[in-house]
Every structure is written in C-alpha cells, then in structure tokens.
Amino acid sequence: MKSLEVEGLTISTVAPLIKKKKISPVDLTRAYLERIAKINPLLNAYLAMAEEEALAAAKKAERDIAQGKYRGPLHGIPFSIKDNIATKGVTTTAGSKILADWVPDYDATVVEKLRAAGAIILGKTNMHEWAKGSNSINPFYGTPLNPWDTTRIPGGSSSGSAVAVAAGLCLSSIGTDSAGSVRNPASLCGTVGLKPTFGRISSFGGVAGTGGYTVNHFGIFTRRVKDCAFVLNQTAGYDLRDPLSSDEPVSNYMKTLGTSVRGMKIGVIKGYFDQCIVSEVRHAFDDALKTLKALGMKIQEVVIPHIDLVPAAQAGSTRPEANSDHDCYLRTRPRDYSPGLLYSLIAGLLTPAPVYVTAQRVRRLICEEFDEAFKSVQVIVAPTIFSPAPTIDECNRGYIEADGKRINLADRAGNFLTRYTIPFNVTGLPDMSICCGFSSAGLPIGMQVVAAPFREDIVFQVADAYESNTEWHTRNPPVQ
C-alpha cells in the first residue's frame, strides 16, 4: 500500500479528516516515521525516536475515535519534543554529553497535556548544547541543518524542532525559548514559532540549566497560525508544579482567528531593530508593514526609552540563573562541556550579585515602558532576526558579509542572532514569529508580532490576518 504523503500537511487540514475517520492516526504516524527514516539522516533533526510508543498511542487514538471518543483537534496528531523537555522513558539529553544517558521517569506537564489531548509523540529533537546558543552547532550530536539550504544553520536553540516542522517530519513541536530559541529557528526555517507570555505554559519538566528561570518560556512550532492556536489551547494554564506559571484564565485562542484587524494600531520601535539589519530583511519587513496597512491597520512609532539596556538585562539575568544549575557539573565534569560553553559558564560564575538584582530592576522599568506603549497600540511588530540563515562556515568564522560589509555575529552584548528577540524574554511578552518573505537565495525571513501580557488572542488575530493575505506559508523547503 502506498503510504500517506505527509509533506506540507497541517493540523488544520488533518484534524477534521481524523475526526471523520478519513485519515487513520496509525497510517499517519507510520507515514511520518517513514519520512523521518528517509529525511532525518539528511537534516539531523531528531536525536531519539519513540517509534513503539508512538505507534501504540496511534492505535489507541484510532480505537478511541472509532468508539466515538474523539478528544479534539490534537487527537492523533504527530508531535516532536525538544530534547530538554522531560519525556517518560525516552532519553532527554539537552543536547549535552553530560545527560547523554538520562531517561526521565516522568513527563513534563506540557507533554502530559499533549498526551491527554491524544497527541502522538514521535521523538526528541536536536538542539544547541544545553540550549545555550542559537546556531545549534553541536559537537556531540551533530548540527541540525536548515531544510531550505543544508549548508546553513537552522537557528536555535530549538533547531531540531523547527527543522522537523518545516521539513514535514511532524505536525508540531514543543521547544523552549530563553533568548529567542523558538522564534529564531522558526524565522530561519520559515515556520510559525510562538513564545507565549511568561508563565502561560508550564515549564515543569524543562531540564534545569537550559534557560534562566525568569526568562525561559516553553513555546510552540507549527506550519500555520491556526495550528498554533490549537496547540496553545491544549497546553496553556496554571500548573501547581511550576510556581512561576500563571493563573490568568486561558482564552480560547481560536476566537480571534479570521476577525478583522481594521483600525487596530501597530507599534514600530525605531532604533534597536535597525542595528545591523541586512537590506533583504529590511525590505521584507517593510513590505509586511505595507500588507498590514492594506488590511486597515494603522502604524505608529513607539518609544521604549531603555530598550538599549535589554542585552545587559538579559545577560545579567540569564547567566546567574542558568549557572546556578551547572555548579555541580562544573565541579565534577567540566570537560564534558564543549570548550566555548565551559568558558562562558566559568565567566558567568564571576557575575557580581548586584548585577543580577539591578538587571531585575531594569527589567521592571522596561516592562513599564512597554506597558505604556501598549496604551496606544495593540501590537508591536519587528523583524525576528537581522539576517536570513548564515552558513555553518560563517558561524564558525564569526561574521557574515552582506550589503558590501562585514557584520559580526556577536559582540560583548551577546549574540546578534538573538538581539531582536531578547526584548520579549526580558519582558515576558507574548511573541510569535511568522514568515514574512524570502531572500534572493530562497531563505525564509521572519517577523515578530508582540502584544501586551496574556494577549495571545491579539497576536493570533494579527498573525492570522497577515498569513491569510500572503502566500509565504505555502512554500515548502526543497528537501525531499
């Protein structure tokens, strides 16, 4: 029997067919497993497969649906999970040598919720070592490759998740984001990537040391905005096991999809997002603004007076928070880190305590400034990354050449690949990256849509309106 063609499928198109029993969850799961077996050796998106468990879950889904026990739009839908999120009985390495053999005996809350919704967990996705970087060049497990051009990075740290979704190796993936680790690879791989408000999705089950406590968020990868709303509906909510999760009521994120954005106001922050931006990204972003304007939205400039302090506030928060979880390994297995990460962790040990506290105070100031901005606009939009995906060689040498000049990929303020995303980790604001164009080399370009705390409904409304009026999301990467 010819297997199901899964490339280009979306949750929105598959879920109704599963509900009507026109697609079998078992056939669907088998088709994804077959495609992974064929494509994954080219892309290195998955680190570990859970084939037996996935097929058992698919058979159960099929039985339940046959008995009239359809659980909703994630029932029978194949997912992948970033390898720093605990999955019972499946290795969870965090992309590290240190945890190479760790098999959790519990599921993260988000995994529990997905399983309860009937989702099928196919396997665990590759990532930057300990989620501490955005190029995902991983010396222990190999580098995941961008499906649009395999000489290029897919971004990170949730690289495997973005590659898997973009290349049709699952329908959705769960990642984590403490500096842009969902939005950055979503942008470079041309998928939807949502980092919801801080605390919106429980972080219980995230591997300690893979993200600062107060800047880390669990996030969602899908191919469509609507698909992402399905997943957030199932995964959001307060969790007793995560004291930093929020008890704000969970909306139905489908409600605003397809509703008009006419008359809504968009804020554009000048200055910060102009740093180093390459002309192709600038043009794609400007065109996206024109599209939003044509939909009846009004564009105005907003000012965040202390936004230039974001890199310092981010680093001053993340380094001490993440370091606190590495102390035991630094004392016992320091040479099981890659050299670059080891050096930065040691440097992090010398961050003075007043830096941490002052960073938290500056963060409140910046939150107040965004709060003020959201009194006059409903969303803020910005490019997700200053450039399309660099090559692996460019990452290794530390710079790209664009617009006739050399642009370094990092400076003392950190990594340029996360410069545009960290303002929304420092503030915890909900932020979605969607594809807003392609470079002349055929590489995706991303745009961030940001709203006030817990207004994911507005993020979905605007992102869906943009997606519905453009065709970027219909393209598929060339990998077959």
Binding site: A312, L330, A347, V357
Partner: protein, 66 residues
C-alpha cells in the same frame, strides 16, 4: 581578573591552561563593560521584576521617592 579566574580554577579543579584563563578573564572583563550601564539608570523606587502580571504594577514614581 585573571586572579579571580585562577581562584575559581583552583576551587573547581577545572585544570584550565593559561590560554584558557586568558579567554575566560577577557569574557569577564567584557561582561563588566556590558553590565556597567545598568548601574547608570535611576532606579529609585523600582523594585525587581519577579513575575509577569497582566497589568504591569507601576513602580513608585521616582519623583515621590526623592
């Protein structure tokens, strides 16, 4: 700064080479420059951020605290 790195090296038994100590010390010096502007902001009346709320709780107005 190199002395601070060397003390850590002894305490944690990293066995860093001199070249590695230089690399780490340079990173610490760069970080200090990055963090310096945080201390130049007037933060009187601004408390640390601990959790994101739907409505940002305004800090006490600075003019009231001076």
């Amino acid at each position: 700064m190199k002395d601070a790195v060397r003390r850590l090296n002894d305490e944690y038994k990293f066995n860093l080479t001199d070249k590695e100590i230089d690399i780490v010390a340079q990173q610490v010096e760069e970080a200090a420059l990055l963090f310096q502007p945080l201390f130049e902001v007037d933060l009187s009346g601004v408390s640390p951020l601990t959790k994101v709320d739907k409505k940002v709780i305004k800090s006490v107005a600075k003019k009231d605290t001076k």
